[in-house]
Symmetry: C2
Subunit: 656 residues, 2 copies
């Protein structure tokens, strides 16, 4: 379609965001656009709902519907569960009033459907039959002031971040009911996971029916319309693109795919709504990470906006660990920035305060916060203790200056001293009764991290709409290398799903790609990470994280193998790690004993870190798999798992 | 059966717990018991597994199996998923090695089945077919050194604390395969939820088949054997008893029900394994909250041990809020004590440290801890600030003395002062940049709660195997009336599912029923709760919680109505609250305006408390419903839910 169409619809997006057009201007714009429209034009409402805020979602949708009506489009199509706001957690179970409200709002919107423009919208429906779960996950077609039909989801995902089967009853495919006329076309409606069970594409299928196949074979629609709310993850675009393209071609039927955008707490949606033609070619794709009133012809396509840079490179990449995080860095950046922005906006927070240590975690957090909520709304506080080096203080100050965020430096020495002397008093009382005091201990190290958090929470209490930030990263969370009520405490944790080696790459990427180049001082990226809480007696310098743990290059590969390949210690002993390859090249090969020791240490530390995972603040899911509570639960008491398989004979010997 | 049988089997329980019998003593005991056994005796293994610790579970089971073999019993029957340890969270998804291990251990145990004693045991099985979820939730029958058969669960609960459908494929009922001969009987095996879908008993059914009915009608077993892992909750015994009794009578078939005991993190199992005869009468019931090698005749029954005191009174009680918590207090007490004990034991912790404020929450926590892990392992620290009254200090000291726990008193005045002066310094720097400092604020109040937590975490770091305790209760968590990194911070939170009015009742109950009577000073129970963090300017005395919130009698009823009846503000305005009735009786009726204000305040405060729920430490689920993360998730950003329904006309008016 004409490029000009998209220049003009950018003005609609702008109006929907800022409401800056007067009625006459809207009419003029509409007239101009209408001349450029293909015969079967529809709008894909790539929109950002808020979980549970049904009224806000409904009022917002109404603005989009009015634009579609003004343009006389055949339809405007919203994502799955739009009206109630996906994800829903469990609130529809305990507060059915939310579902009642979403039904009434749906009816009110239906009453406003006039002219030829149909509205297709996801919502939650009561299951009024005697049996089964309380609700259906449904799509309504609104037309002629009524609800024309309701299509119910058949395949209910219930793994990782998906919990459909907690609340919804699966429905029969009912292909005839899934067909609605949109303009002169017959569209077949598919609800998200309903489109993800092709028996030829997947080696293993979760479900026994493929609604796409049923609808195509029984009804021969002109195209399929998939209403989705599908989160972004590393590698997912590769799967999604290949699958949708495969299905469109296999069935010789175009697929129109509408996706939610924006973030709701830990889940991020990248938009990138799209159209595949009947040959499986991508013929339209909306912007990523932006709301868009995206006009397409379901049969011919529209503009193809690019995916975040580099992502296309991953489309055929292999399943191997690499330090080349490059292809995923822009997506990672956009996902975290969007998640921070939406979390603050949707919870009503405006400002963030964080400790700036001069280390990598707090540095990257500060940059992301500045980009998400504005540098004037970020306060970085350098809180040196006795151990903090002059370099760290300078690096923190320089970073703040480069970013333009607010900055203060406050020594915590006196807080540390008064807490420490209090501890001495308490501990000497306690050791009269308990003969189990550690000789050497990290208790005093933790005072520093906890004093800093105490200050940050104080600031958050004292200043309006202000959240303190937890800066722990994924590698350190796996190792439990984070202080409870210290650096892992905060109202939000931007980096909890970013591993350390990726953080280094992200810092470099941001220095290169942000408008303001090189905001992060080179010294911060160059220095080896350490918490600066303790002195290493061997070196006399602050203990480095890799001295306390293991090399990050090795650690991050273990995490990657556990999350993506579900490997055991045995499997990993068999495999060659990137770190091993590098050491070998350097002529200092890694011994098998050292490797085994690190692997055992990994699982030992992970087993004692489980409690920390359970009390982490909300954080963006970024990777293909994460330890975010919204996706993965590991009982804390399940710390006795044997990750090192024994043989059957060993087991038999134990039974005597 | 002979009462003596149970006196003798108590010795088996003791041996299984302490391994204190020599082989000859075991043989002698076995001979004695065998003379008392009915012809078709089986043992119900009411046992306490640990999630994920397959080896420990297998070795433990083997001791139980050897006893069953020694007694020449027809069978020994273990609970659902025993071998892998229920609950599993998601670890079988990311760590399939655990499932491989449980299969190998099952085979190793099978290799040890000799003589006539069959072993029936829950485990997790791989689904090796092309389609569906990765696993089955299965029961194995082990006999003659082999796995005789595997029965797969059909009905997969996936609500509240249940997550079966995340990992398991539902299996067809396959009634023929569910039948195994046990001695001279034909037993039909049922897996937990498979027994909870009777179409005549329930008004609404979750599933479309009733495996119990299918098995009985198609196979006519002599009895049904239900292997369960079913947690204890308020009111659940009422439902369970009525349902099992109903089904046994309806099908004229005895039901043998084996339940897990012990706690795994937040989930507690009360045991109380049992037998209903074909007339629906309860003819055997094992102990509650105790491991037991419980011998019964599936057709004739055995000893009926009593349920926790009072529970029977609830069997037919109505669905109404009451301050008479009495019938549920012993169960509540036993559940929390068991959960604390098992959490400490299974995570390797031995000691607990908590702040003793002289208030109700820390007091009840201290008593429960002392009873769970031993008074010598509990350290109560009184940490007075400027605001703390002399009474509070004395009450704390007296409580500690009565309980025999360790006690210290440490003033936090100097910590408070040094933090406060640091805050003054920080805040004056920040307000140069941010013009949004609150005029009046609770920042300084929170210093007290956070300084106390800092000390407790310091103690936990400095002394071996020591956990700090978070004392927040359910009423206050709903209101967000708890300090982050303060009183709501800890390694375990014993009271998070106990409302305030129930806590008062529990305190009185403990004073009456514990071996040591009246350990809790009367003054603590008499005084009105308050955090003693701030002064109420109106009274000049420490602010009371009910002044900051609303009367607990009212608050707790709102919570009860939300959790149990799913009511909205409108519903609750229509209903008469107990507190209203009491006020009316006192001649001071509650105004509708005041009531509406409290209800709005409830939902407003609850909406801003959601973050706090998400970072709560592990805590026991006690009530019929809870806000424990293991059961209920409410996205933090879903804070804009409208709990006060609007009309359709109001909605239509908003769309213009």
């Amino acid at each position: 379609m004409d490029e000009k169409l998209y220049t003009l619809t950018d003005k609609i997006d702008n109006d929907l965001l800022n409401g800056n057009l007067a009625e006459q201007e809207k009419q003029n714009l509409a007239q101009e656009i209408k001349q450029l429209l293909p015969k079967d034009a529809i709008a894909l409402a790539q929109i950002n709902p808020t979980s549970g805020n049904v009224k806000a979602n409904a009022l917002k949708a109404y603005e989009w519907i009015k634009w579609a009506q003004k343009l006389d489009l055949d339809a405007v199509v919203f994502p799955e569960m739009y009206l109630i706001g996906y994800p829903i957690g469990d609130f529809i179970d305990r507060f059915p009033v939310v579902v009642e409200e979403n039904i009434e709002w749906l009816n009110a919107l239906a009453a406003k459907t006039t002219g030829k423009t149909k509205v297709v919208m996801g919502f939650v429906e009561f299951n009024t039959t005697k049996g089964g779960k309380k609700y259906f996950n449904s799509i309504a077609v609104l037309a002629d002031r009524k609800i024309e039909r309701i299509v119910r989801k058949t395949l209910l995902p219930n793994y990782a971040e998906f919990n459909d089967y907690r609340h919804f009853e699966p429905a029969a495919v009912d292909s005839a009911n899934r067909i609605t006329s949109i303009g002169e076309n017959k569209a077949g409606i598919i609800v998200c996971e309903d489109g993800w069970n092709d028996f030829d594409f997947f080696d293993k299928n979760l479900y026994s029916v493929d609604p796409v196949e049923t609808v195509v074979k029984e009804q021969h629609p002109n195209y399929l319309l998939n209403c989705s709310s599908s989160i972004t993850r590393a590698k997912k675009e590769q799967l999604k693109h290949n699958m949708l393209s495969f299905a469109a071609k296999k069935h010789a039927t175009p697929i129109v795919y509408v996706n939610q955008v924006g973030s709701n707490e830990c889940l991020s949606f990248e938009g990138a709504s799209r159209v595949y033609n009947k040959d499986g070619n991508l013929v339209a794709m909306a912007k990523s990470y932006k709301e868009q009133f995206f006009i397409v012809s379901p049969t011919k396509g529209g503009k193809v906006y690019p995916l975040p840079d580099g992502l296309e490179k991953t489309l055929n990449s292999q399943k191997a660990f690499t330090l080349d995080h490059e292809p995923d860095l822009e997506r990672t950046y956009l996902t975290i920035v969007q998640t921070i922005r939406d979390y603050f906006k949707k919870t009503g927070f405006k400002r963030a305060v964080l400790g700036l240590s001069g280390g990598l975690d707090s540095t990257v957090s500060a940059v992301l916060l500045a980009d998400a909520i504005g540098e004037q709304n970020v306060f970085g506080i350098s809180m040196p203790s006795k151990i903090t080096s002059a370099e760290s203080k300078n690096d923190a100050r320089e970073l703040a200056k480069n970013l333009g965020i607010n900055f203060a430096e406050i020594s915590i020495k006196d807080m540390y001293d008064s807490t420490r002397s209090k501890f001495d008093e308490v501990f000497s009382l306690i050791e009269n009764k308990w003969n189990c005091r550690y000789k050497e201990c990290f208790t005093n190290d933790n005072i520093q991290a906890r004093s800093r958090a105490l200050i940050l929470w104080g600031v958050a209490n004292e200043f309006q709409s202000c959240l303190p930030i937890a800066t722990s990263d994924k590698s350190e969370l796996y190792m439990g290398y984070a202080t409870i009520n210290g650096d892992m405490s905060g109202g939000f944790a931007p980096l909890a799903d970013v591993s350390k080696t990726k953080l280094f790459a992200l810092a470099k990427w941001m220095n290169k790609h942000r408008t303001k180049k090189n905001a992060i001082p080179e010294a911060i990226i160059e220095k080896r990470p350490g918490a600066e809480l303790a002195i290493n007696p061997k070196t006399g310098k602050p203990l480095l994280a890799e001295e306390a743990l293991m090399p990050y290059e090795f650690l991050d590969e273990v995490i990657w193998r556990v999350e993506n390949l579900q490997q055991t210690i045995g499997d990993m002993m068999q495999a060659e790690f990137l770190h091993e390859k590098h050491l070998k090249e350097q002529g200092e090969p890694l011994s098998q004993e050292q490797k085994l020791e690190w692997l055992k240490k990994f699982f030992r530390r992970m087993s004692t870190a489980l409690y920390k995972w359970s009390i982490m603040p909300p954080s963006p899911i970024v990777d293909a798999r994460s330890i975010n509570k919204a996706e993965y639960k590991h009982p804390i008491i399940a710390s006795g798992i044997n990750y090192h398989k024994t043989t059957y004979e060993q087991k038999l010997n134990e039974l005597k």
